[in-house]
Amino acid sequence: MNDRALRIVLPFVVLVFSVLIWGLVVWFFAIPPFVLPGPGLVLATLIADAGLLLNSLLVTLLTTFEGFLLAAAGGIGLAILFNQSRLVEYSLYPYAIILQVTPVVAIAPLLLIYLPQPLAVLTCAWIVAFFPVLANTTLGLNSVDHNLLALFQLYKATRWQVLWNLKLPSALPQILTGLRIAGGLSLIGAVVAEIAAGSAGAGSGLAYRIAESGYRLNIPRMFAALLLLSLAGVAIFFILSALSHFALRRWHESAVIRES
């Protein structure tokens, strides 16, 4: 079996075995569902509560997506600004770091006081996700081949031409790495903020469903919601990886498939 197939089949085998053992353990020890539901019950809950859960998933995904877009725009924009002006970089970079190192769980309650809830959740998603984009884009913009820079200088390129034709394409691999990290992190930010917000109602996200189900000892629904969250995270990762691969496949070492 070739390498590619193994990479798909093996994790799948592990999944089947784990689920099987999980089901057997629950059945053998007769564990009650409010302690640990079996895989069958989780699946049944997922189907039964599909309407509610998918609605919540949509809310969370929307927040994640918005947070991601803002993080991408903010991170790349700020990195470009830093790259163009040393003074701006010196002035603002320390605060970008402070924003990053302060745990978002601790910021969320404060934000909820000052901002309407959806906006506070979005802000959390943004705060968590934007720093990797900023840091990676900055690294990329600063790692441009100095001979290529000299070449642009020789042909009297403007700042704008250097940025658009040289620095941004050259930084693309790092930018995409930043975005890939930001995708997962904006989901985490959204989830953390939703749990901190803890508000009920029709417009509540998946993370709130988990907290709520916990209070009600509806453990199967907790598992079902958690499963959806994981799947959402995996989907985000794969979409961004595919995007990255697609953008780099022709030229970057990381994406080129070599024949040996």
Binding site: N147, A150, L151, F152, Y155, A157, Q161, L166, S170
Partner: protein, 255 residues
């Protein structure tokens, strides 16, 4: 001494001291005639690349003057590495200087095709740099330098990283391009053999600080080919230049 008549660029008493105190060039004089093929020959660290960068305007002289009697005009520069943009195909790489100068699309396309044809890369316009060999990448870099039809082509040890077979081939191709286009070439190298094969005049430099030690005219006629490369005349010239280089090394700070 031999710079009577017109010069295209002339360096007078040029010195370059880097911020860390290294004196790369001191009292460096050079007059280059139009359509001349001149080589700067010296060991690494003798300031020959620095001199080239000062001529190109990529670096400024700490003292002395660089003069272009009839204006600098367009300059082509070939670096030690191919220095291609890895994300762009060869045609896009070659068109870059024209694109930066906002040249028209149609005329650019014609110029790119011409430049690629001149270096024998017509079939590789759509290839990406990583798909090409070292020699072909260098050809692409030369095509990019030629695409603006520069008056002066500056080359900074362009073939140093290539194997001998490719280096000889590129030497021959460079000579035929030079003869065809009638442009000035200033070529930096540390190879005695390469400089003798290519140049009309060799400027031998001393290391630390870089100064002109000797100028040697190579008056063998062009076109030069493999017969010249294996001739007794070539061997004798190489010996003369190598001796001058040896003396230059001894005269300089040594290494």
């Amino acid at each position: 001494m031999n710079a009577k008549g017109s010069t295209i660029v002339s360096l007078h008493d040029v010195g370059k001291t880097f911020d860390n105190g290294t004196v790369a060039l001191k009292a460096f004089d050079l007059d280059v005639r139009p359509r001349e093929f001149v080589s700067l020959l010296g060991s690494s660290g003798c300031g020959k690349s620095t001199a080239l960068r000062i001529i190109a305007g990529l670096s400024s002289a700490s003292e002395g003057s660089v003069e272009w009697p009839s204006g600098a005009g367009q300059i082509g520069f070939v670096f030690q590495e191919p220095t291609l943009m890895p994300w762009a195909n060869i045609a896009t790489n070659v068109v870059l200087p024209l694109k930066l100068a906002h040249a028209g699309d149609t005329s650019s396309r014609i110029s790119v095709l011409q430049a690629l044809k001149r270096v024998g890369l017509t079939d590789f316009a759509e290839s990406f740099p990583r798909e090409l060999s070292g020699g072909m990448k260098m050809r692409a870099a030369i095509a990019r330098a030629l695409v603006t039809e520069p008056n002066v082509l500056l080359m900074d040890e362009p073939f140093a990283a290539l194997d001998e077979i490719n280096r000889f081939k590129l030497n021959n191709d460079l000579l035929s391009v030079w003869q065809e286009l009638n442009r000035t070439v200033i070529f930096v190298t540390h190879s005695v053999f390469e400089s003798v094969y290519l140049s009309q005049r060799i400027v031998v430099m001393t290391p630390r600080p870089g100064r002109v030690f000797a100028e040697i005219e190579i008056d063998a006629p062009y076109p030069r080919d493999e017969r010249f490369r294996t001739s007794a005349e070539y061997a004798a010239l190489c010996r003369r230049v190598a001796e001058a280089l040896g003396k230059a090394m001894a005269a300089g700070g040594g290494s």
